[in-house]
């Protein structure tokens, strides 16, 4: 067996224009969400006088640091709806963007190790099916058929008692996703501006009319924030307080191995998630550090625990070497669900709070955020994810329900 070769890139991806003095829409943050928003603003709404401002390099934030798991097996109806919409878009996007970003629907297994895990898993499978999301409950012997290297023996500390399986879930090559969206947005006239940090906002009363940047003032009809870990720091400069906390989240990869791991395996109870990248690295993640942080590095004991869990689940990995570890900064909301919508400041829109799981939502986040910015009103898919829910109490509490512990 040999690993799949990576596809060739097109020669030309995007221009690097100088910022103009004004745009109809300015998006802050050229991660996957900012780029998808620009793409759908142009494609779905014909709004092309758009700039995406990025303080670093294009898609160098969490987009470059995530473990690329895509799934839609969320418990609550509102979440299932938006993540399943994203999954359907993922299924079409490689052809639509004419860019092979290696979206691989190899399935996701969420393991159960306790009776409570089993009950939660079975409940989620039923809820998923009612929402038209593909989901199955697998007994331990069926789990072993999906992923033969997984240790399903009853003699481990936390035996595998079964698992949920979503066959349409999978992984994609994150950088290529960003470049694919960037190329098309650029072709439609969107200015992608790197090395441009937004440092403040221009306001006329309660209305935002532009941004201050390290490359000067840029006027804007509307401003959309898609700045992930820094959303609250930025929104505060516009006078908007967001209920999110920024936490370091780490991941790591091993050296290359021949293909041995055919799916994605996630376990909350022993807390590790593992997939094998196209080239052959084992890609692993675990939980956030408990404390707030912006340092883009995390605690070593988190890695230690995740490795212990991985080796117990996959004894075959015991001698694999860690090649690289890194951290990103994710913004976590109190109900572990995103915030996408309007803010108390007119013409200022926010997309944040995706926490540890926003990569999978990239196309739907872009689709709904573009709709909200273009029309001033939420799309039915993001209406439940409004900032107001924290005052009305209509929370979408995916903590523990989302098949991942945040």
């Amino acid at each position: 067996m040999t690993a799949e070769p990576l596809p060739e890139h097109p020669d030309f991806l995007w221009r690097n224009p100088e910022p103009r003095s004004s745009y109809d829409v300015v998006i802050v943050g050229a991660g996957g969400h900012g780029l998808a928003t620009a793409y759908y603003l142009a494609k779905n709404h014909g709004i092309t006088n758009v700039a995406v401002l990025e303080k670093g390099w294009l898609a160098g934030g969490n987009m470059a640091r995530n473990t690329t798991i895509i799934r839609s097996n969320y418990l609550w109806d509102e979440s299932a709806a938006i993540y399943e919409y994203a999954l359907k878009l993922w299924e079409e996007l490689p052809e639509e963007l004419d860019y092979d970003f290696l979206f691989s629907q190899r399935g996701v297994l969420n393991l159960a190790h306790t009776l409570q895990d089993v009950r939660e898993g079975v409940r989620r499978v039923n809820a998923n099916r009612l929402n038209g999301v593909d989901a199955q409950w697998l007994e331990p012997d069926e789990v072993a058929k999906v992923c033969p290297i997984l240790n399903v023996s009853s003699r481990t500390r936390y035996p595998v008692l079964g698992g949920t399986f979503q066959p349409r879930a999978g992984i994609a090559k994150h950088d290529h996703v960003a470049w694919a969206l960037a190329r098309r947005a650029d072709e439609m006239g969107v200015d992608l501006i790197q090395g441009c940090e937004v440092t403040g906002f221009l306001k006329d009363g309660d209305r935002v009319v532009g941004v201050e940047t390290n490359r000067g003032r840029i006027l804007a009809g509307r401003v959309g924030l898609a700045s992930a870990g820094h959303s609250s720091v930025l929104a505060e400069r516009a006078g908007v307080r967001l209920p999110v906390q920024s936490h370091p989240l780490q991941a790591l990869v091993s050296e290359l191995h021949e293909p041995v791991h055919p799916t994605v395996v996630m376990s909350n109870h022993v807390h590790v998630y593992v997939s094998q990248a196209h080239k052959g690295e084992l890609v692993m993640g675990a939980g956030v550090d408990s404390y707030n942080g912006y340092g883009q590095r995390g605690s070593f004991h988190v890695i230690e625990q995740q490795m212990a869990a991985a080796v117990e689940l996959f004894p075959v990995f015991a001698r694999a070497h860690v090649l690289r570890t890194w951290g990103g900064i994710v913004d976590v909301s109190p109900d572990a669900s995103p915030i996408i919508g309007t803010t108390p400041v007119e013409n200022l829109y926010v997309n944040c709070g995706w926490g540890t799981g926003g990569f999978k939502a990239t196309p739907a986040a872009g689709w709904t955020f573009a709709h909200t910015i273009a029309t001033g009103e939420p799309h039915p898919l993001n209406a439940p994810f409004a900032l107001e829910r924290f005052a009305t109490g209509a929370l979408i509490d995916e903590h523990g329900a989302a098949a991942v512990a945040h």
């Binding site: 609250s232 720091v233 307080r241 967001l242 209920p243 999110v244 906390q245 920024s246 408990s290 404390y291 707030n292 942080g293 912006y294 340092g295 605690s299 070593f300 004991h301 913004d331 109190p334 924290f390 005052a391 009305t392 109490g393």
Partner: protein
């Protein structure tokens, strides 16, 4: 790993502690008078500064007491630890937790 100093037990590894989020968030004085927005503020909104942050930690595998820590959220430097009955220490560059 962070090295945090418990006011009673001294410096210990981060793994001995449990994190409790922002410090100095008092329970509302007149809860019956609060609007929904004010309740949301008390329950869900916390500061999230880049820089010094006053936060609560509990020495869960030690003396099991809560205390406060001033920590820089960018460098992760633990600047001060202090007991709950002590005021927040003044720092020249203090930010966050001012409301």
């Amino acid at each position: 790993m962070l090295l945090i100093s418990c006011p009673w037990c001294g410096p210990r590894d981060e793994t001995e502690y449990h994190y409790g989020g922002q410090a100095h968030v008092p329970y509302p004085e007149t809860p019956a008078d609060l609007t929904d927005e004010q309740w949301a503020e008390y329950v869900f909104y916390r500061d999230n500064p880049k820089g010094p942050f006053a936060e609560r930690w509990m020495h869960s595998t030690g003396c099991r007491r809560w205390f406060n820590v001033l920590r820089d959220t960018v460098t992760y430097e633990v600047l001060r630890s202090y007991r709950l009955d002590e005021p927040r220490p003044e720092l020249p560059q203090a930010g966050g937790n001012n409301r």
